[in-house]
Amino acid sequence: MTEGALVVEDLDVRYGGVHAVRGVSFSVERGEIVGLIGANGAGKSSTLHAVMGLVSSAAGEVRAAGASLRRRRPEDVARAGIALVPEGRRVFAELTVDENLRLGLAARRSRGGSPGLLEHVYELFPVVREFRRRPAGALSGGQQQQLAIARALVAEPDVLLLDEPSLGLAPRVVDLVFDALAAIREQGLAVLLVEQRAQRTVALADRSHVLANGELRLTLGPEDAADTETMVAAYFS
Amino acid sequence: MRRETALELAGPAALVVAAALLGALVSRSTEGYFTDALVKVAIVVALYVFIGNSGVLSFGHISFVAIGAWTAGVLSVPASEKPAIMPNLAGFLRDRAVGNLSSLALAALAGGVCALVVALPLMRLSGLAAGIATFAVLEITHNLLRYYEKVGPGLNTFSSVPETTGLRQAALGALAVVAAAFAYGRSRFGRLLRATREDPAAARAVGVSVYRQRLIAFALSGALAGLAGGLYVHLLPISTEGVYLDLTFITLAMLVIGGTTSLWGAVVGALAVSALDSTLAEAENGLTVFGATLDLPAGTRVVVVGALMALVLILRPSGLTGGREFRLPRVSADAA
């Protein structure tokens, strides 16, 4: 079987005395969205941080297209084709929208222009084109979220990681973001979506893993989205 | 007092006494190094009282050493000699002279009061801001003492100060400072302050006033630094440059190298670095050791001490003692 775009094996993360992630394993293929849901503190963000090399004390294995990502610096992981849209968006408020996008280019592996790429990004998130020259801090929360995703896409990643993109967003914007994710899936990216909005995530993703207490408890498919009982049980198991 | 607690005082005190005894055995010229080392112990322990317990860096404590030195010096120069060296001295200072012990007590008082005044605004600051602000205090003190001739000799060196700090006074002074530091460290205030060092948020949550604890420690350490300054001025003629950046550097180096967070570290650091510094100073003048002659160029000592301090900060920030207090090695029952 060919190796997935992102493979996580027996991931273990400790922060001081806290065992945040315990032996988690899953994979994400190209052209699919895998959801990671669970209550606060379940270990979802820690998993993403470990993939990006932000946690020095992780054990286990993380591979992208067969190559190990363990012990790599965050900028090297980014340059290997993994893009993270961090929790809270983390746009550079004092830089313009354009400059924020240009920063995203830092991780691009292909040389030379890719004119179609920018157009594509603008198509997904028209607000980014509209506010090109404004400082990113002047954008609303929803617009900043779109910018953050656009910035990640500009690097032409193979794998896109998102940490709670819908946090604090109005429903209309959440729709926009989730539609964009579907489109991104069409493009052939591997998407790992960490979310608290369990229902929408389960409905959108090809597979959703439920994390509780650092452990992977349950895997749900889109057909389970309507089954509230299973969801509640999974969360509080 | 429990045995461990008693050891925490006994260890540093014993080291001080040992240094004093050793100093009494060597030649007169070498004795000076030991006396100087003991005064350094007093300064470094004073630094520890604040920096070690609070975790806040202060670049300005030598100001209080300077203030103590000035107080003790100006007051103990015999009234007849004052006009010669300090012609512009203010009236009430000019006509009076006090004895040795009084000068030391007043030095401590002056140091403590000034430290309190400085601490009132500054103890709200932490980290980098505290470091810069206390450095500013050092600069202001240096500037004022250098030019304000109503309170001291200004640009000139302090001379005619009775040289009462011999080995005994230095040792007693150092022991007094060590004892005070120990008492503070074991007291409720010391424990509360250390709590704020370890986990400021938790300490605040249980109602500890970080500001007040730091204030107390800063004032006390200022008083102790003032006392040390008094000892210093009775040891040799000093000038404003002698209680400025160089002294700040060497005493901070001693504290860091010994171990910032413990009394034992402060004493060990002061004595160890003094020993190293003195040996190198001798080597700079030509030193015969084991039949071979060591003749180092002038200035080597600062290079060595500076390099050592940088290395410790980079490789072993907790210092020689690891920041721990003095303990006797345990012989465990099941040692095989």
Partner: protein, 302 residues
């Protein structure tokens, strides 16, 4: 007002502007490194000192002026990179206070190495001494170096602005100084950005060394020590966190020192440092972000 009095005033004004310009460059040098490393480099003055010694040696060996300048740059840049590798890199992630003490130690270390190597009496750097001669502009005598310093500083600052605003590495540096962690997640290489900041900072130190040796040709181990301390004060007062306020702070302190130093009689100007550092304390207490910033927060941003 006689022409003579006017003459002095113009001279003082020009000198003060030149001093402010040089201090502004130092402020940028310090501010750049602080931006990416959150480290106040107490040893920055030693970089200037090293450059000055290079010029003095070149002067002693009777090298042509351009060779001396090249040597100055080479020495300062090499020392900057060495400092980064040996001191800054191992200290990354430590608290700012530890970094301050460490650079304080490095400053003393370098100063004492210079003392060891060159002795306390100092060396003379005379290569550019011709710039110390006056030129008459509009009926007023101004030393050439005054004009040169202002022009050179302005050009350096312009080049820096272009670097930061128009180039990719400049964009990376700006982003890194705002949010290093996120910048790395986007692929910005930490070591490269830090290296760039260190190099630019070093280049500025070399320029400052050249400017300062014209007016003070005697190079001693504590060359530029007082200047560094004053500039640090100015940077803190102006605003440590952002490049523009930091630069303004540096310029303001230099300009103010020049004006007050030239205009006040000696007895009154002696206490200038006290006022200056009292201002530093005041700013740290009341407006820790700096006087020239809109940012009202603390000196450190976690």
């Amino acid at each position: 007002m006689t022409l003579a009095v006017l003459n002095i005033e113009w001279q003082t004004l020009a000198d003060a502007t030149a001093l402010g310009a040089v201090y502004a460059l130092m402020a940028v040098g310090i501010g750049l490194v602080f931006g990416v490393l959150r480290l106040v480099n107490f040893a920055y003055g030693q970089l200037v000192m090293a450059g000055a010694y290079a010029l003095a040696l070149a002067s002693q060996w009777e090298w042509p002026v351009w060779a001396g300048i090249v040597l100055c740059f080479a020495v300062v840049l090499a020392l900057s990179l060495l400092m980064d590798r040996l001191v800054f890199r191992p200290l990354r992630g430590q608290s700012p206070a530890v970094m301050l003490v460490a650079t304080f130690a490095v400053a003393f270390l370098l100063q004492s190495i210079a003392l060891l190597a060159f002795g306390p009496l100092g060396k003379i750097a005379t290569s550019l001494a011709s710039l110390n001669r006056p030129v008459t502009v509009g009926g007023v005598d101004i030393r050439k170096i005054t004009i040169v310093a202002i022009v050179v500083a302005a050009l350096c600052l312009l080049a820096l602005v272009l670097l930061l605003e128009r180039t990719t590495v400049g964009l990376h540096m700006r982003a890194a100084s705002m949010d290093f962690a996120t910048a790395r997640l986007l692929g910005v290489r930490a070591n490269r950005v830090i290296g760039a900041a260190v190099l630019v900072s070093g280049a500025l130190a070399a320029v400052v060394a050249i400017m300062l040796t014209v007016q003070n040709p005697l190079v001693t181990p504590d060359f530029a020590l007082r200047d560094t301390i004053v500039v640090l004060a100015g940077v803190v007062v102006g605003g440590l966190n952002r490049p523009i306020p930091a630069t303004l702070g540096g310029f303001a302190i230099g300009f103010a020192s020049g004006i007050l130093g030239g205009a006040l009689p000696t007895e009154k100007s002696q206490y200038l440092p006290s006022f200056l550092f009292a201002a530093v304390i005041l700013v740290l207490l009341v407006r820790p972000g700096g006087l020239f910033t809109r940012y009202r927060g603390a000196v450190e941003r976690v």
